[in-house]
Amino acid sequence: MNDESKVIRYLDGQMSDEEKKSFEDELLSSPKLKKLYDEYSLTFFELKNLNEVKINENYFSNLYARFREKNISYKKKKFYYKFAYSLPVLILAVILLLINPFNPSNNEKTSVLSDSIATNYSNENIYKTENTNILKENNTINEKIINEENIEKYYPSYDNEDVKDIYNIINNLSDEELNLLYNELANKEYL
């Protein structure tokens, strides 16, 4: 162990009683060790002296009040951060609800409906009418469908429960959906 290490261990109180005794004996016999010890002990006690400082006591007496103010604004900040994080999530959730891919789109809905209608319209009974040829008429399908009197005249199978269901559904479609339905039907082979 070098001299510096011995001196610091002694000053720091790390030595056992035996080690202390041995060191103190060495101090008496070694001027080099004594000089080093004097230097370090001066530093040691000067630092202790520098530590004996007081500051304005008002600082500590106001500390609790200032802490309470800061704690209130810390809680507000915490709330704002939580809000800031949750708001984009909320917005995203609303957007996803509006464009929910799991609900059938208007196109899908009318496509399914048009398939049902096409199946029923293709029924031989429908085409067996005396007074009209649907294919030649210029009216839109939705007008034909919605007009119940016409339905009775042109589509004897209106009495068919399945077809009646379809007409009930169609009656509840919006104009946009009806237009989509018309376009779907217009593209079907039977027209």
Partner: protein, 184 residues
Amino acid sequence: MHDKSDFELVKEFNKGNEVAFNEIVKRYQQKIYWHARKMTGNHFDADEIVQEVLIVLYNKLKDFKFNSSLYTWVYRIVITRSINYLKKKNLRHFFSINDDENTIDIKSYENIEDNFENKEKLDKLDKLLQKLPAKQREIFIMRHFNELSYEEISEITGKSIGGLKANYFHAFKKINNLMRQENE
């Protein structure tokens, strides 16, 4: 309230008694402040750390299970906050982010020392300690100024006693050299 143990004060606070927390603050505020002051080297930064530590104590005291003494737990918070604060400050300095609010506030703390002699002593001590690396400074402060045993420091920091003694040795040697250079 003054006669109650730390355990009783924590229990009282957890029941909703704010006066108990006030008492805890009074007991530890000087220790918290002076460690932060010696770590940061200036009053403004020390005050920031003290406020942070008190906020943590206020919000986390309900989770304190007395697995260690309250003093050890508080000290652990102080040293963690101090080191983190210094790291953040270094980063801000590195990226040259100026905080104008701080410059205005520093003026209000100019007279924190109650006389000139104390101010000189504190300035000298701050300058010496700031020359040590943060981790060495932390150990040196706990051992030399707070006179904690190595076992206590080991419990607070989680470091080995041998490592702590080595840290103290190097810190003391460096400070000795600095003081000698100043005196020459």
